[in-house]
């Protein structure tokens, strides 16, 4: 295998609060190879955005990296000073945030914002930068980009703002893009266009992408591998087709079963009963155990000992069902998504 472009080792992100120390990302390890798209899915609040924020050095205090290492091209970046980080952010790592308003300044036209990013990082003239800004906006499907660059963020629709943010992230041609829900506010057609664009960058420039999204269709189309997060931990990680069609971890099985299918008439959608634990009350052992329908097959271990990732089918799952000695059976393929 190639040396990874990004390597995250045992990352732990914590928040000291009045209610005690909260661990929002707990011992997460992952790698992304050059040109690879790693999809990250999971329960809302599972720590996906915080993992992305930690990688790009934008954790907001009091949040902090408590332990672990983050390496970009073999070089540690989690301990850089804010000034050093500013040089690589935008240039080496581009970010598309879940909240488009944090990336856009309401007081400046979008053209000015994109052009400034280009001028900061690339050696071009202002005119070239402006032209590149227009090209980028065209690429993400903003009509009449040459006129629209003079407009302010509030004059765009939700999905258009998201596309402006995408072009901002691509402006300086970074090697790694952290894309947090880049396509949720977009219609299926623009979504297809953005995905095609991201894939082209991966193929032609070897750009790597960490793609956080809830849209399993987008994951299926774009990602090479997928990590499934639950309560700050990776529950399962593996090749995209395996995770979607042959999920091994009981949480992943439940998640895949909850996807509404077009053309299928059901009165109620399947949901995983219960809700994710509060960060200050993560159960001992496996964090999923209060909601797991299969823990009976294991016994006490699920509630006492935390499982780490184990080989499970063609993926890796943090679940005691896959420790040696426990026979894996075939009842855990989801009914509704099997092709």
């Amino acid at each position: 295998m190639n040396t990874p472009l990004l390597e995250v080792r045992n990352l732990r992100v914590q928040f000291p609060t009045r209610r005690g120390l909260l661990t929002a990302v707990d011992d997460v390890s992952l790698t992304i190879a050059p040109g690879e798209v790693l999809g990250v899915v999971g329960e809302s609040g599972a720590g996906k955005s915080l993992t992305g924020a930690a990688i790009i050095g934008l954790l907001e205090p009091p949040g902090r990296i408590e332990s672990g290492e983050i390496l970009l091209n073999g070089r540690r970046i989690d301990n850089l000073s804010p000034e050093e980080f500013r040089k690589i952010r935008g240039r080496e790592i581009g970010a598309i945030f879940q909240d488009p308003l944090t990336s856009l300044n309401p007081l400046y036209t979008i053209g000015r914002q994109i052009t400034e990013t280009i001028l900061t990082h690339l050696n071009v003239t202002p005119d070239e930068a402006k032209q590149r800004a227009i090209d980028l906006l065209n690429e993400v499907g903003i009509p009449a980009a040459d006129k629209r660059i003079d407009h302010y963020p509030h004059q765009f629709s939700g999905g258009m703002r998201q596309r402006v943010v995408i072009s901002l992230a691509l402006a300086a041609q970074p090697k790694l893009i952290i894309a947090d829900e880049p396509t949720t506010a977009l219609d299926v057609s623009i979504q297809a266009q953005i995905i095609t664009l991201l894939k082209k960058l991966c193929r032609e420039h070897g750009t790597s992408v960490m793609l956080v999204t809830h849209d399993m269709g987008v994951i299926a189309e774009t990602a090479d591998r997928v990590a499934v997060m639950y309560a700050g931990r990776i529950a399962e990680i593996g090749p995209v087709a395996e995770v979607i069609h042959h999920p091994q971890h009981p949480y992943t099985v439940g998640l895949m079963g909850a996807i509404p299918n077009l053309g299928e008439e059901v009165e109620r959608l399947t949901q995983i009963d219960g809700s994710m634990p509060r960060l200050n009350a993560i159960p001992a052992g496996c964090a999923f155990n209060p909601r797991c329908t299969r823990k009976g097959e294991i016994g006490a271990r699920c509630t006492t000992e935390r499982p780490s990732l184990m080989n499970a089918g063609k993926t890796q799952a943090a679940c005691w069902l896959y420790s040696e000695g426990v026979a894996t059976n075939t009842t855990n393929t989801p009914q509704s998504v099997a092709a």
Binding site: S157, A185, S189, A258, V266, L269
Partner: protein, 338 residues
């Protein structure tokens, strides 16, 4: 007798002035620039049904939602809620009407007051409409709402920034539900939720509809979600409604060429390798929309008439509507989608 129609949107248009400042315009010799975000849209929503609006990003869905809720005055046309023209109602009447509807905004970040604790945010509609005054009673209601959206009663004490994107979206859903509105405008209410929580919220919305007869105007780009939740679906293109019919008809027998294209662009989860067909052609410029039928530059059925004459909305006996010359001229093969 109560009519079955709860809301009527009658020929609504909404324009935005997006010109440069006056001085720049004079210096650069540029005319005013007006963007028609919504351009003559009419539809009705019946009590207890879910009407969804779908269509390309920027086609005017959120603008309609905001006009319906009275957040933007329409440039033309009227919004009639339960027989009352909202613009003509007295201040007092408007206040009474406001109690009966709520909106879930597309952007869960911008719509929550960052300085308020979550408990206060959720209780705000209850308090401002004077629906509840007793502190203990309010707290009980907020507890219940937080649990219903999959959060915990303890979360009342926290501030919005302490939550993830999907958790914030659920806070705005809890807020919108708190005053038991009859009519709820939901602009992308589940876009930030994982599929399991999304299922929980959609199930909750359906339960409330069954129990209390809630009416929804629903906006989403996720067509699987739309097909699951909706009674009827309206398809918009560049500020206009181009087709509206019951959910089954839209998904199984779309008539308008744009609807047909939109449906073939849905991502494929089964990974059969089926190529998605993105809607062909350039996204039009709303500042300078094409003549005639605004879809004509991208439409495979366009002819000379389409370039000159905007198609009229044709309403069928069953209430379904479509506006397209080719449909009228029976030039379009009916596409049955499996």
């Amino acid at each position: 007798m109560k009519s079955s129609v709860l809301l009527e949107v009658r020929d609504v248009a909404r324009e935005f002035d997006v010109s440069k400042p006056w001085l720049n315009r004079v210096i650069e010799g540029q005319p005013k620039s007006i963007l028609k975000a919504v351009d003559g849209v009419s539809f009705t929503i019946n009590r207890g049904e879910t009407l969804s609006l779908v269509g390309e990003s920027g086609c005017g869905k959120s603008t309609i939602a905001r006009v319906v809720c009275g957040l933007y005055p329409p440039t033309r046309g009227a919004v009639i809620f339960d027989g009352v023209d909202i613009a003509k109602a007295s201040v007092n009447e408007q206040q009474q009407l406001r109690k009966r509807f709520q909106m879930i905004f597309q952007d869960p970040y911008a719509s929550l007051n960052p300085r308020w604790r979550v408990g206060k945010i959720i209780a705000e509609p209850l308090v401002s409409h004077g629906i509840m005054t007793d502190k203990a009673e309010i707290k009980k209601r907020v507890d219940q709402l937080l649990t219903q959206v999959g959060l915990s009663p303890q979360d009342q004490e926290k501030f919005p920034h302490e939550f993830s994107g999907g958790q914030r979206q659920r806070i705005s859903i809890a807020r919108a539900l708190s005053s038991n509105p009859e009519f709820l405008v939901c602009d992308e209410p589940t876009s930030a939720l994982d599929v399991s929580v999304q299922a929980q919220i959609l199930n909750l919305m359906k339960d409330l509809q069954r129990e209390f007869g809630l009416t929804y105007l629903f906006i989403s780009h996720n067509l699987a979600v739309v097909s699951h939740i909706s009674t009827r679906v309206g398809v918009m293109y560049l500020g206009r409604l181009v087709e509206m019919a019951d959910t089954k008809t839209i998904f199984n027998r779309p008539l308008h060429p744009y609807t047909q294209m939109l449906l073939s662009a849905i991502p494929d989860l089964r990974m059969t390798g089926k190529q998605r067909t993105p809607v062909a052609g350039e996204v039009p410029n709303p500042l300078n929309p094409p003549s005639g039928c605004t879809f004509h530059p991208r439409c495979p059925y366009a002819n000379d008439r389409c370039k000159l004459e905007a198609p009229k909305m044709m309403v069928a006996n069953d209430g379904s509507m479509v506006s397209c010359h080719a449909v009228e001229e029976k030039r379009i093969p009916i596409k049955l989608v499996a």
